[in-house]
């Protein structure tokens, strides 16, 4: 079946995130999405963030793993559309993202409880 090719996922550290994102931007990639998933790693909750990019209909995905409540840098200065995903991830998962270009400070998602997607 012809459709999306199976893509490789590149695992990065938080420190490498901004520089790799900048180089993808310079190569002409477009930000498709940022996705956060709560996963269980040997009994410990970890948040995985997938940054998905596209160029000429080919996806490129980078992944970072962080602990709950950790701080990460924003990529919204590089990709203008990133701020909605970063506000979403902050509001639903409680990830502290530093330097979001338009930061709604927890008011983007109206939730009945703080950071509902981290609840078990």
């Amino acid at each position: 079946m012809a459709m999306e090719k199976r893509i490789e996922i590149f695992i990065l550290t938080v420190d490498e995130l901004v520089s790799r994102t900048r180089s993808l931007h310079d190569e002409g990639y477009r930000l498709v999405q940022i996705c956060c998933s709560k996963v269980d790693e040997s009994g410990k909750a970890v948040l995985e963030l997938d940054y998905t990019f596209d160029k000429h209909y080919n996806l490129y995905n980078i992944r970072i793993s962080i602990e709950e409540g950790a701080e990460i840098p924003s990529i919204s200065e590089i990709f203008g559309s990133a701020f909605v995903y970063e506000n979403e991830i902050h509001d639903l998962y409680g990830v502290s993202i530093q330097g979001i270009s338009i930061d709604y400070r927890g008011n983007f998602y109206k939730t009945a409880m703080p950071h509902p997607f981290t609840q078990d």
């Binding site: 999306e4 477009r30 203008g80 983007f108 109206k110």
Partner: protein
Amino acid sequence: MGKQTIIPFGPQHPVLPEPLHLDLVLEDERIVDAIPSIGYVHRGLELLVSKKEYAEYVYVAERICGICSFMHGLGYCQAVEEIMEIQVPERALFLRTIWAELSRIHSHLMWFGLAADAFGLENLFMLSWRLRESVLDIIEETSGGRVIFGACKIGGVRRDISPETLRDMCQKLEKLKGHMDRLTGVFLNDRSVGYRLKGIGVLTREDAQRLGAVGPLLRASGVDMDMRRLGYAAYERLSFEPVTENDGDCYARCAVRARELYQSIDLIAQAVSMMPDGEVDTKVLGAPKGECFMRLEQPRGEVLYYVRADGTRYIERFRVRTPTFTNIPSMIHCLKGCDFSDVPNVILTIDPCISCIER
């Protein structure tokens, strides 16, 4: 700088039947900023994936949105099929394409009605929705459902369409073209409609790309990106070029959707003429293990599904990145500098679907 006023807009508003809230910052009658907030109808459908068997979840995926219901089911099925390396029968791929394009026609016709309502032409709203009704009748005749098709399943589709029904469907769609000429003619040629749409909410090509716009919003700014070019379902066998316009205003977005109506009818005719015989589904054994990103072109633009499965009968993580969500930055950009009275028009031309955002 004049005195600033903040006007709350939504989540209940007469011209926006979608639960989106905007705080509009105005100087006199001019918008200087728009601050969105969402979360009013969140249903937790992504979480539900871990509580339903993977084959049953198709029913839930279809219920993410009432307009793109078939597309959501299709995207989820394609992602699981990719992980399980299932070869879907050819005929099923063509049937999926036909239902996907019928969804696009009914979604665009619905949008024309809502857009007409937003700029105050109630009779044009009635005309658009009357045409949409005839498309819903075709969908009901071929799939059995009007809103939720229930036609897609992992490994194929649930029902076939007979050659006679396919022929009738093509004839009805050909006839519909005549009515659509009248409808789109009003939208594209009427002077009063032009006053409300031309030069309003302009999004340049550079801004559209910078802000991550997708779908008709992006194509109206001159970028020919269309995920159907990935060739999923039967699209790799069909001939089409993405519809683009260059002005990037509300009128251009309207023109893109108008031309896409005819394009969808043409794609359906191509699919029917090339439809192979054979089975419409294949037996699915086992459980998915692995992860996959899958993209489709919904009526509102590129949608992305992420599925991660651990080999049990329950999917571990399902994520939908909807076109409306990624169009929010562009919508805010378009609103800035607009008159307050143009806000409904600008928001409507993005074609927001909040139920998609609020999975």
